[in-house]
Symmetry: C3
Subunit: 203 residues, 3 copies
């Protein structure tokens, strides 16, 4: 129930981030809806197609579609107010990333994949919605050159596989990994930590 | 046989629209062929990958490949004349959209998905070939900001699920839904109806 | 063992080509890694998703991931020297294309697809990593307008299906097809052969 609530909050935050990007691009209503949709479910969709978990999850569980539809209507109605909620949205988004990473890792474990593949699946789940959003909007994906986004997912995933070696209940490792992802991202944004540009490093 | 003929005509119209866009971008022969191909089969391919209906349909039925190859050769030979056929092409394209939407809905029903998912699959089948075409040509997909394209698919899909509640043969609902999609698109283009830009609405 | 070595060399060459493109775009470390990764495995991933061969191959065999990780570290450390190795890299890349084409054809035959579909799968395996790389970097894919890249794959694939009609061991056809692909590409680059731009032909 707790996980489900966070999953839905994460979906909403991702959908709103899609609405905001689509509006900047002056897309029409359908365009905004699609961008919100792919931002929210794109990562999980790619994950499910990669491991053959089809029909993909949002086709089997209608809650995602209705959550996104409701969120888009809400976001369009309250677009001015959203600008004052950026911090709250960022928090939802960050919590969503933490949970989506772990959802992806779980799916990888169910498919009996190696830990490194599970971590990749988790990172894809959390980050590729945003990548697809940026490609559809004709931008170089923001996570490739600005944010320490995927790095947080990867470090959280590694932590999870280290923590489940310890003699505690798996749920602790799960929750701790989510918290690690959230904390890394919050600290990175607060202190403006970014990965070095390889280009400059190469000079 | 009738459905099959329309399906092939739709494939041809989609392939020609791909050729025209690829030529504007000055792509080489292979580029033109690929763009024609993804425009014609891209929507159905994404649909099949989402529901796990693999190998995807054009890999199992060679008629699509040969239709597209023939269409591209024809389009390149008669490229000047094609400009005078824009209205006819637009009609084929619109008929194709109607049929492709219903093909996608049928596939969703076969996979026992909910009506809303079937409508989404139908819309993906009809419209994502054009989306992939535009992404490959480095444009923001035209359906996101200019055309009432997907809206016609969605309204047609909704009509279908309402009509099959009525005590008539399912084939009537099927054909009526196709006609609804075609008429909405024709009227929208004739009267230049477009979805409102959310951006302006938000001001 | 021989095939495997070439496969790994091809993966490395593709990964390095990804690193070089990503650096030109000034992506961060994660961006470079992702671009290297999709360049190297993108074609095979799309192939596996199209035929339903999931989890896709790099999820089941960790050698690809570790090869790419090692190659990226190496490429970043020796980025200056790489510029002097362009000819060697081009050779690896070309050998990789030959082998990747045949790997794709084999997968198509295993899935009992028609020869034309197998050739398409081979071409996708060899060329779509580069297409995805260019899309993620917000460029029109280079193979659509500059290189006789895919044409070499297609001609090699056709040769293979002609050669296996002859009363020799299948391995000869396999190796000969790879050599044909490599030779066509080398000759095309040496003599600057490109496919005609349809745009000009249409004038």
């Amino acid at each position: 129930m707790f996980y489900f609530a966070i999953d839905i909050l994460g979906t909403m935050a991702f959908a709103i981030s899609g609405v905001l990007v689509a509006m900047e691009k002056k897309l029409d209503l359908f365009g905004v809806l699609i961008i919100a949709f792919v931002t929210a479910v794109g990562g999980g969709t790619l994950r499910d197609m990669l491991i053959g978990n089809t029909p993909v999850v949002w086709m089997r569980e209608s809650v995602y579609i209705f959550t996104i539809l409701g969120t888009v209507v809400f976001a369009i109605m309250f677009v001015k107010q959203l600008k004052y909620l950026r911090k709250t949205l960022f928090l939802f988004d960050t919590i969503g990333i933490g949970l989506f990473t772990m959802v992806g890792i779980e799916k990888g474990l169910s498919a009996e994949l190696m830990p490194i593949m599970c971590i990749i699946l988790g990172t894809i789940t959390a980050s590729f919605g945003g990548v697809i959003r940026d490609i559809l909007c004709n931008e170089i994906p923001v996570i490739f050159h600005k944010e320490i986004y995927a790095t947080a997912c990867i470090l959280g995933g590694i932590s999870y596989f280290l923590l489940i070696q310890l003699p505690f209940d798996g749920a602790y490792a799960y929750i701790t990994a989510i918290i690690i992802i959230i904390v890394i991202r919050l600290l990175a944004v607060k202190f403006k930590i970014a990965l070095p540009s390889i280009y400059r490093a190469g000079k």
